[in-house]
Symmetry: C2
Subunit: 123 residues, 2 copies
DNA sequence: CTAAATGCAAACTATTTGCAACGAT
DNA sequence: ATCGTTGCAAATAGTTTGCATTTAG
Protein backbone atom coordinates (compact mmCIF):
# COMPACT_ATOMS: atom_id res chain seq x y z
CA UNK A 1 0.00 0.00 0.00
CA UNK A 2 1.21 3.44 -0.88
CA UNK A 3 1.11 6.38 1.46
CA UNK A 4 -2.11 7.74 0.01
CA UNK A 5 -3.79 4.41 -0.33
CA UNK A 6 -3.11 3.69 3.30
CA UNK A 7 -4.21 7.12 4.42
CA UNK A 8 -7.39 7.03 2.36
CA UNK A 9 -8.17 3.59 3.62
CA UNK A 10 -7.67 4.84 7.13
CA UNK A 11 -9.89 7.86 6.60
CA UNK A 12 -12.68 5.73 5.23
CA UNK A 13 -12.55 2.98 7.77
CA UNK A 14 -12.23 5.14 10.84
CA UNK A 15 -15.00 7.51 9.87
CA UNK A 16 -18.64 6.76 10.41
CA UNK A 17 -19.49 9.42 7.92
CA UNK A 18 -19.82 7.49 4.67
CA UNK A 19 -17.59 9.98 2.97
CA UNK A 20 -17.72 11.22 -0.57
CA UNK A 21 -14.57 11.57 -2.64
CA UNK A 22 -14.69 15.31 -2.04
CA UNK A 23 -14.78 14.78 1.69
CA UNK A 24 -11.95 12.29 1.62
CA UNK A 25 -10.01 14.73 -0.49
CA UNK A 26 -10.62 17.54 1.99
CA UNK A 27 -9.56 15.36 4.91
CA UNK A 28 -6.46 14.13 3.11
CA UNK A 29 -5.46 17.62 2.11
CA UNK A 30 -5.04 18.65 5.73
CA UNK A 31 -2.16 16.25 6.04
CA UNK A 32 -0.93 16.30 2.44
CA UNK A 33 -1.77 19.69 0.94
CA UNK A 34 -0.39 18.79 -2.45
CA UNK A 35 -2.65 15.84 -3.17
CA UNK A 36 -5.09 16.24 -6.07
CA UNK A 37 -8.60 14.97 -6.54
CA UNK A 38 -7.69 12.50 -9.27
CA UNK A 39 -5.36 10.74 -6.88
CA UNK A 40 -8.20 10.27 -4.46
CA UNK A 41 -10.37 8.85 -7.23
CA UNK A 42 -7.61 6.55 -8.36
CA UNK A 43 -6.92 5.23 -4.90
CA UNK A 44 -10.52 4.89 -3.92
CA UNK A 45 -11.11 2.84 -7.06
CA UNK A 46 -8.10 0.72 -6.38
CA UNK A 47 -9.25 0.03 -2.83
CA UNK A 48 -12.72 -0.71 -4.04
CA UNK A 49 -11.55 -3.11 -6.75
CA UNK A 50 -9.41 -4.83 -4.17
CA UNK A 51 -12.50 -5.28 -2.04
CA UNK A 52 -11.10 -3.26 0.83
CA UNK A 53 -13.81 -0.65 0.89
CA UNK A 54 -17.45 -0.52 -0.05
CA UNK A 55 -19.05 1.90 -2.45
CA UNK A 56 -22.55 3.16 -1.77
CA UNK A 57 -24.69 4.66 -4.50
CA UNK A 58 -27.87 6.46 -3.64
CA UNK A 59 -30.14 8.11 -6.16
CA UNK A 60 -29.18 11.74 -6.75
CA UNK A 61 -26.07 11.81 -4.64
CA UNK A 62 -22.39 11.27 -5.26
CA UNK A 63 -21.03 7.88 -4.34
CA UNK A 64 -19.90 7.37 -0.80
CA UNK A 65 -17.41 4.97 0.73
CA UNK A 66 -17.66 2.76 3.73
CA UNK A 67 -16.17 -0.13 5.62
CA UNK A 68 -16.78 -3.55 4.19
CA UNK A 69 -18.05 -5.23 7.33
CA UNK A 70 -21.54 -6.37 6.58
CA UNK A 71 -24.29 -3.99 7.55
CA UNK A 72 -27.31 -2.26 6.13
CA UNK A 73 -28.07 1.42 5.65
CA UNK A 74 -30.62 3.92 6.69
CA UNK A 75 -30.94 6.76 4.21
CA UNK A 76 -32.75 9.98 4.96
CA UNK A 77 -34.91 10.71 1.98
CA UNK A 78 -34.81 14.40 2.71
CA UNK A 79 -31.20 15.25 3.55
CA UNK A 80 -29.44 12.18 2.22
CA UNK A 81 -27.78 11.35 5.51
CA UNK A 82 -26.61 7.78 5.73
CA UNK A 83 -26.47 5.74 8.89
CA UNK A 84 -25.37 2.23 9.58
CA UNK A 85 -27.82 -0.28 10.87
CA UNK A 86 -27.64 -4.02 11.14
CA UNK A 87 -30.75 -5.95 10.45
CA UNK A 88 -31.12 -9.63 10.84
CA UNK A 89 -28.98 -11.33 8.21
CA UNK A 90 -30.97 -12.29 5.15
CA UNK A 91 -28.40 -14.34 3.31
CA UNK A 92 -29.81 -17.76 4.04
CA UNK A 93 -33.37 -16.72 3.44
CA UNK A 94 -32.58 -15.00 0.16
CA UNK A 95 -30.47 -17.85 -1.10
CA UNK A 96 -33.31 -20.21 -0.36
CA UNK A 97 -35.86 -18.04 -2.13
CA UNK A 98 -33.55 -17.56 -5.09
CA UNK A 99 -32.59 -21.20 -5.24
CA UNK A 100 -29.14 -20.08 -6.26
CA UNK A 101 -25.95 -18.57 -4.90
CA UNK A 102 -25.30 -14.86 -5.00
CA UNK A 103 -22.40 -12.60 -4.11
CA UNK A 104 -23.91 -10.26 -1.59
CA UNK A 105 -26.94 -8.11 -1.04
CA UNK A 106 -27.52 -4.45 -0.43
CA UNK A 107 -30.37 -3.28 1.75
CA UNK A 108 -31.26 0.36 2.18
CA UNK A 109 -34.11 1.70 4.25
CA UNK A 110 -35.36 5.14 3.30
CA UNK A 111 -36.88 7.28 5.98
CA UNK A 112 -36.99 10.84 7.29
CA UNK A 113 -34.38 11.34 9.96
CA UNK A 114 -35.08 12.96 13.30
CA UNK A 115 -33.26 16.17 12.36
CA UNK A 116 -35.36 16.60 9.26
CA UNK A 117 -38.57 15.76 11.08
CA UNK A 118 -37.77 18.37 13.70
CA UNK A 119 -36.74 21.12 11.37
CA UNK A 120 -40.27 21.82 10.27
CA UNK A 121 -41.56 21.55 6.72
CA UNK A 122 -44.08 18.99 7.83
CA UNK A 123 -44.65 16.02 5.59
CA UNK B 1 -49.69 14.78 -18.73
CA UNK B 2 -47.99 16.08 -21.81
CA UNK B 3 -47.37 14.02 -24.92
CA UNK B 4 -43.79 13.23 -23.96
CA UNK B 5 -44.52 12.60 -20.33
CA UNK B 6 -47.17 10.11 -21.27
CA UNK B 7 -45.01 8.45 -23.88
CA UNK B 8 -42.02 8.20 -21.57
CA UNK B 9 -44.17 6.85 -18.81
CA UNK B 10 -45.49 4.28 -21.24
CA UNK B 11 -42.03 3.28 -22.41
CA UNK B 12 -40.81 2.80 -18.88
CA UNK B 13 -43.79 0.93 -17.54
CA UNK B 14 -44.24 -1.43 -20.46
CA UNK B 15 -40.60 -2.37 -20.69
CA UNK B 16 -38.96 -4.93 -18.45
CA UNK B 17 -35.64 -3.50 -19.38
CA UNK B 18 -34.93 -1.02 -16.60
CA UNK B 19 -34.05 1.58 -19.15
CA UNK B 20 -31.48 4.30 -18.93
CA UNK B 21 -32.27 7.81 -20.08
CA UNK B 22 -30.29 7.13 -23.25
CA UNK B 23 -32.39 4.08 -24.00
CA UNK B 24 -35.63 5.91 -23.34
CA UNK B 25 -34.38 8.67 -25.57
CA UNK B 26 -33.59 6.21 -28.37
CA UNK B 27 -37.00 4.60 -28.07
CA UNK B 28 -38.78 7.92 -27.99
CA UNK B 29 -36.88 9.19 -30.99
CA UNK B 30 -38.34 6.51 -33.20
CA UNK B 31 -41.73 8.06 -32.78
CA UNK B 32 -40.68 11.68 -32.24
CA UNK B 33 -37.43 12.26 -34.07
CA UNK B 34 -37.15 15.84 -32.92
CA UNK B 35 -37.09 15.18 -29.19
CA UNK B 36 -33.86 16.03 -27.38
CA UNK B 37 -32.13 14.36 -24.46
CA UNK B 38 -32.80 17.18 -22.03
CA UNK B 39 -36.52 16.71 -22.53
CA UNK B 40 -36.19 13.09 -21.54
CA UNK B 41 -34.26 14.06 -18.44
CA UNK B 42 -36.82 16.70 -17.56
CA UNK B 43 -39.76 14.37 -17.96
CA UNK B 44 -38.16 11.47 -16.24
CA UNK B 45 -37.43 13.72 -13.28
CA UNK B 46 -40.95 15.01 -13.28
CA UNK B 47 -42.37 11.51 -13.31
CA UNK B 48 -40.00 10.44 -10.60
CA UNK B 49 -40.81 13.39 -8.37
CA UNK B 50 -44.48 12.65 -8.88
CA UNK B 51 -43.81 9.11 -7.68
CA UNK B 52 -44.94 7.57 -10.94
CA UNK B 53 -41.70 5.82 -11.73
CA UNK B 54 -38.84 4.43 -9.75
CA UNK B 55 -35.20 5.33 -10.13
CA UNK B 56 -32.55 2.69 -9.66
CA UNK B 57 -28.96 3.60 -8.94
CA UNK B 58 -26.28 0.99 -9.09
CA UNK B 59 -22.60 1.63 -8.50
CA UNK B 60 -20.80 2.54 -11.73
CA UNK B 61 -23.77 2.70 -14.00
CA UNK B 62 -26.17 5.37 -15.19
CA UNK B 63 -29.49 5.52 -13.42
CA UNK B 64 -32.26 3.33 -14.70
CA UNK B 65 -36.02 3.64 -14.45
CA UNK B 66 -38.63 1.14 -13.53
CA UNK B 67 -42.22 0.58 -12.57
CA UNK B 68 -43.14 1.48 -9.01
CA UNK B 69 -44.86 -1.74 -8.07
CA UNK B 70 -42.93 -3.16 -5.18
CA UNK B 71 -40.24 -5.63 -6.08
CA UNK B 72 -36.57 -6.33 -5.52
CA UNK B 73 -33.69 -6.48 -7.95
CA UNK B 74 -31.09 -8.90 -9.08
CA UNK B 75 -27.99 -7.17 -10.40
CA UNK B 76 -25.30 -8.93 -12.36
CA UNK B 77 -22.01 -7.81 -10.93
CA UNK B 78 -20.27 -8.45 -14.21
CA UNK B 79 -22.51 -7.02 -16.94
CA UNK B 80 -24.80 -4.84 -14.87
CA UNK B 81 -27.97 -6.47 -16.11
CA UNK B 82 -30.93 -5.88 -13.85
CA UNK B 83 -33.77 -8.29 -13.32
CA UNK B 84 -36.87 -8.12 -11.23
CA UNK B 85 -37.39 -10.53 -8.42
CA UNK B 86 -39.83 -10.52 -5.57
CA UNK B 87 -38.63 -11.75 -2.25
CA UNK B 88 -40.74 -12.19 0.77
CA UNK B 89 -41.83 -8.76 1.97
CA UNK B 90 -39.61 -7.42 4.72
CA UNK B 91 -41.60 -4.38 5.73
CA UNK B 92 -43.05 -5.70 8.95
CA UNK B 93 -39.83 -7.33 10.04
CA UNK B 94 -37.74 -4.24 9.33
CA UNK B 95 -40.17 -1.94 11.04
CA UNK B 96 -40.08 -4.12 14.08
CA UNK B 97 -36.29 -4.25 14.14
CA UNK B 98 -36.07 -0.50 13.59
CA UNK B 99 -38.76 0.29 16.10
CA UNK B 100 -39.81 3.12 13.84
CA UNK B 101 -41.64 3.84 10.62
CA UNK B 102 -39.83 4.19 7.35
CA UNK B 103 -40.82 5.10 3.82
CA UNK B 104 -39.69 2.11 1.81
CA UNK B 105 -36.74 -0.17 1.39
CA UNK B 106 -34.52 -1.10 -1.48
CA UNK B 107 -33.06 -4.57 -1.76
CA UNK B 108 -30.55 -5.53 -4.41
CA UNK B 109 -28.94 -8.91 -4.78
CA UNK B 110 -25.64 -8.98 -6.64
CA UNK B 111 -24.71 -12.10 -8.50
CA UNK B 112 -23.20 -13.33 -11.76
CA UNK B 113 -25.89 -13.97 -14.30
CA UNK B 114 -26.13 -17.12 -16.36
CA UNK B 115 -24.95 -15.39 -19.54
CA UNK B 116 -21.82 -14.13 -17.85
CA UNK B 117 -21.16 -17.45 -16.19
CA UNK B 118 -21.41 -19.18 -19.55
CA UNK B 119 -19.32 -16.79 -21.52
CA UNK B 120 -16.09 -17.99 -20.00
CA UNK B 121 -13.68 -15.89 -17.98
CA UNK B 122 -14.11 -18.20 -15.03
CA UNK B 123 -14.46 -16.70 -11.60
C1' DC C 1 17.14 1.44 -13.03
C1' DT C 2 12.52 0.23 -13.31
C1' DA C 3 7.81 0.14 -12.28
C1' DA C 4 4.32 2.15 -10.04
C1' DA C 5 2.18 6.33 -8.09
C1' DT C 6 1.35 11.22 -8.38
C1' DG C 7 0.17 15.96 -10.12
C1' DC C 8 -1.98 18.16 -13.48
C1' DA C 9 -4.78 19.25 -17.26
C1' DA C 10 -7.83 17.73 -20.41
C1' DA C 11 -11.43 14.62 -21.66
C1' DC C 12 -15.61 12.41 -20.82
C1' DT C 13 -20.24 10.95 -19.04
C1' DA C 14 -24.25 11.98 -16.85
C1' DT C 15 -27.20 15.48 -15.80
C1' DT C 16 -29.09 20.20 -15.16
C1' DT C 17 -30.08 24.89 -16.43
C1' DG C 18 -31.20 29.27 -18.99
C1' DC C 19 -33.57 31.00 -22.49
C1' DA C 20 -36.05 31.85 -26.69
C1' DA C 21 -39.64 29.79 -29.38
C1' DC C 22 -43.76 26.98 -29.28
C1' DG C 23 -48.28 25.11 -27.95
C1' DA C 24 -52.29 24.50 -25.43
C1' DT C 25 -55.50 26.40 -22.82
C1' DA D 1 -52.44 36.61 -23.26
C1' DT D 2 -50.53 33.24 -20.24
C1' DC D 3 -48.11 29.52 -18.49
C1' DG D 4 -45.99 25.28 -18.95
C1' DT D 5 -43.21 22.51 -22.32
C1' DT D 6 -39.81 21.91 -25.74
C1' DG D 7 -35.43 22.42 -28.39
C1' DC D 8 -31.11 23.81 -28.02
C1' DA D 9 -26.80 25.12 -26.31
C1' DA D 10 -24.11 25.89 -22.59
C1' DA D 11 -23.05 24.86 -17.90
C1' DT D 12 -22.17 21.81 -14.10
C1' DA D 13 -20.96 17.68 -11.33
C1' DG D 14 -18.72 13.60 -10.99
C1' DT D 15 -15.26 10.83 -12.70
C1' DT D 16 -11.59 9.01 -15.78
C1' DT D 17 -7.53 9.32 -18.66
C1' DG D 18 -2.93 10.61 -20.77
C1' DC D 19 1.30 12.04 -19.91
C1' DA D 20 5.40 14.04 -17.90
C1' DT D 21 7.44 13.93 -13.39
C1' DT D 22 8.40 11.99 -8.99
C1' DT D 23 8.97 8.36 -5.77
C1' DA D 24 9.95 3.84 -3.82
C1' DG D 25 11.83 -0.46 -4.21
Amino acid sequence: MTKYEEEIYHIITTSTGHLTVEQIYAALKKKYPKVVLATVYNNVNKLWKAGLIRKISVENMPDRYDRVIKHDHLVCQRCGKLEDISFHDLTASLREQMGEEFLFYDLKIFYICQDCRNSGLAG
